[in-house]
């Protein structure tokens, strides 16, 4: 499934769009950044409750396909700017982490 298809199927809005035609190869969830650096894999969608600017650096370094914010969280202006510069896809789910994951599982992940 591509980022665009995920967006269409869930109605989760885009906070930032990069290349939305790239495929999502799996899901990673984590809020401890060293854990995410150690265990996340290229192409995965990353679910996190973190919203500060360093998540963009991590998504870029790990080559995640997108970040999924939870609980309707937003990015501040500065972080949005960094996301735009790095062409990072960011969506936001209105659900908590568990319900967000359940939705993804129902979609076949």
């Amino acid at each position: 499934m591509t980022i665009k298809e995920l967006h269409q199927k869930t109605d989760w809005p885009f906070v930032m769009q990069g290349n939305i035609d790239q495929p999502i190869t799996g899901i990673h969830t984590g809020d401890l950044l060293s854990y995410v650096m150690g265990h996340g894999k290229t192409g995965q969608a990353w679910i996190t409750m973190q919203t500060h600017q360093n998540i963009i650096a991590i998504a870029s370094l790990k080559e995640f396909s997108c970040i999924i914010l939870i609980d309707d969280n937003d990015l501040d202006q500065q972080t949005l700017g960094i996301a735009a510069d790095n062409e990072i896809n960011v969506l936001k789910s209105p659900l908590d982490a568990f319900e967000t994951i359940k939705t993804l599982v129902k979609l076949g992940f």
């Binding site: 809020d31 950044l33 060293s34 150690g38 290229t42 600017q53 650096a57 370094l61």
Partner: protein
């Protein structure tokens, strides 16, 4: 051959990851394998964050020869009190501010060691030196 030197300011979270990103781009430019580039990115990010969170700042030096891609992280203190303890997964002296941002899981140094081909860590109260080496070509 020294390729590039970066200056790093302590406690400046706004720039965190930018040096690692640049080093990753350079590694790509040298045609290193995807897998090695990924390891370079993880190790550099953790080392860069450690300098921001735990040190008074310093320099990061990138050097290259025919076989190796080397990165030295040099800071000006306060040093690591007990390196053996610092290497233990889960051990951290990070403050609450860093923890709330998701740093300070105590996994950085173990992650760096796991992802690098050579790993040397020296520390005293005047500074910490972390030398990492990556083989430019994967040996089959």
């Amino acid at each position: 051959m020294l390729i590039k030197t970066y200056e790093l300011t302590a406690d400046d979270f706004t720039q965190a990851g930018s040096i690692s990103s640049d080093i990753r781009k350079i590694a790509k430019g040298y045609g290193m394998s995807q897998e090695t580039i990924r390891r370079v990115a993880v190790a550099c990010y953790e080392a860069e964050i450690n300098m921001i969170i735990h040190s008074h700042g310093g320099q990061i030096e990138l050097s290259i020869d025919d076989e190796w891609f080397n990165i030295a992280f040099k800071d000006v203190g306060p040093g690591i009190e007990n390196i053996e303890l610092a290497m233990k997964p889960g051990w951290s002296t990070a403050d609450v501010v860093a923890q709330n941002m998701g740093f300070g899981a105590g996994l950085g140094l173990p992650n760096i060691k796991k992802n690098s081909d050579t790993f040397n860590l020296f520390s005293d109260p005047n500074g910490t030196l972390l030398q990492l080496g990556f083989k430019r070509k994967d040996t089959l």
